[in-house]
């Protein structure tokens, strides 16, 4: 027997690689089909429970009724969704400007940070549901009041994550910039902001969900007078009328909105980081 008999088999990929590829394909399919399957199953079960137990629709409507409400009341719900979306997105934008702006200010001035940071924390830990009624007493304009509510909940994650990010610069890189005589502005713009970007985006994802929560809370507290009703106000209103189907329809739209915001921010985060950041790197096994 010569050593040559042990020469490698001339397969293009080895067995392990083939198995791994197959597993990856299966996983890829399962990732989308499984959740859909679960949803179909849940809706079917929901329908059966309503039918079998003959539950009246003003207690629990079947999925068919909810769907009918979703399509039948579409013009009302769509308008409400637009309003809620407007509050949410505006609040998120203001949260980014306020949160990131404050973080930069805190980073530039230790004194400002020491003076203001505790109050940012107090604002954050006080439940917005408790602050909201007061806000609507003092703020005449409902839109402004709602924005303020949503902003209060959403800005803190942006502030705290960006603050952490701005501090997390590699200390050798910081020294390098100093040695090359970088100005404060250059250091902020070319070193600290890029370093803080992954942290900021993490905070942004949380803020996206929170601004929706803030908008919903604001609507519930503000009531429908004046600016028209958003989705949460529609839920409340439908509840008074025992129109449970519409409550479910509006609720599903809020949930869809939340999912959309999260997905959009995830895409944004991937687009900004995938070239260089470790979090966006795919590795084998």
């Amino acid at each position: 027997m010569s050593l040559a008999d042990n020469s490698p088999v001339t397969a293009p990929v080895d067995v392990e690689e083939r198995q791994r590829a197959r597993r990856r394909r299966l996983e890829q399919i399962a990732r989308y089909t499984l959740p859909v399957l679960v949803m179909v199953l849940a809706i079917w079960l929901w329908d059966r429970i309503v039918v079998w137990n003959e539950i009246p629709h003003y207690i629990l409507p079947g999925p068919g009724r909810v769907w009918a409400s979703l399509t039948g009341d579409w013009s009302i719900l769509y308008e409400a969704a637009l309003l809620t979306a407007k509050t949410t997105i505006l609040a998120l934008i203001l949260a980014v400007i306020g949160g990131a702006g404050l973080a930069i200010l805190f980073d530039q001035s230790k004194l400002v940070e020491m003076s203001l940071y505790p109050y940012a924390v107090i604002l954050q830990v006080t439940p917005v549901v408790a602050i909201a009624p007061l806000i609507f007493i003092y703020v005449e304009n409902k839109t402004v009041g709602m924005l303020l509510c949503a902003w209060i909940v959403a800005f803190f994650p942006v502030l705290s994550s960006t603050t952490l990010g701005l501090k997390s610069v590699d200390h050798n890189l910081r020294d390098l910039y100093k040695i090359y005589g970088a100005t404060r502005w250059q250091q902020l713009w070319m070193l600290q902001l890029p370093s803080a970007l992954p942290y900021f985006l993490g905070g942004l994802k949380i803020a996206g969900g929170l601004s929706l929560i803030g908008a919903v809370v604001a609507e519930l507290v503000a009531g429908t007078g004046g600016v028209g009703a958003g989705l949460a106000a529609r839920i409340q209103e439908a509840g008074y009328r025992l129109n449970i189907a519409r409550m479910f329809a509006a609720l599903s739209m809020i949930a869809a909105m939340g999912v959309f915001i999260f997905a959009a921010l995830s895409v944004l985060s991937y687009a900004l980081l995938h070239k260089w950041h470790e979090s966006a790197i795919k590795r084998e096994n």
Partner: protein, 259 residues
Amino acid sequence: MLQTTPLDSRPPVLRMAGINKTFGRDVVALDGMTLSVNHGDFISLLGPSGCGKSTALRLISGLISPTAGRIEWAGGQSQDDLGIVFQEPTLMPWATVVENVYLPFRLRRQPYGSVKDEILEVLRLVGLEQFQNAYPRELSGGMKMRVSIARAMATHPRLILMDEPFAALDEITRHKLNNDLLELKAKIGCTVIFVTHSVWESVFLSDRIIVMAARPGRVIEELHVDAPYPRGEEFRTSAEYAGYCRATSDALHRAMGDR
């Protein structure tokens, strides 16, 4: 102890006299360090952990100031004209190789167009021109270190400080980078202060080795390696090299107090 003529006609770059650096009340990182650096020198600082090697580099680079003593730069030049290489490659992960090497120029507001040729030339010298648009995470440890060296040399500084740049690399990569560093230094014509833990590395690279001791950090001996440059593999395997290594090793043992 090896001694040679300190007689030297090359222009001075830097002189440290009686430098003391004390952190807090009683952590004496460096005590009475005196060192003159002339143009073209390759000086190694060699010594056990905690003997103040990094502190010496940080003092020279102006990141910290001495508790006592003076650092004088020749001809009014100052630490602006420095390149530095750390133990980690210290690249900006969000920037490509070219952008990383462009950094020192960019901080001095020199437009990319005016220094593009210099940057590409130094990337060619470190053998990374095909990787100019790669991000650091796509490079191996050795390649990242080459980028870091390219960045330090790109501006043709009068003095380059290196703090254990190859300590985290494997032996093979390290030898290769040692060879390349000497070649680069000859081509660019700079002066280097190099911190290392390795006797073999310091002898191969330097013409002067400063042996230091810890607690308090201080200079114990200065050795001269009189082998001519360029040095290559034949020097690494020569009896002369072995002799210098033994002498340096002995000095290091004396510095560590177990003669």
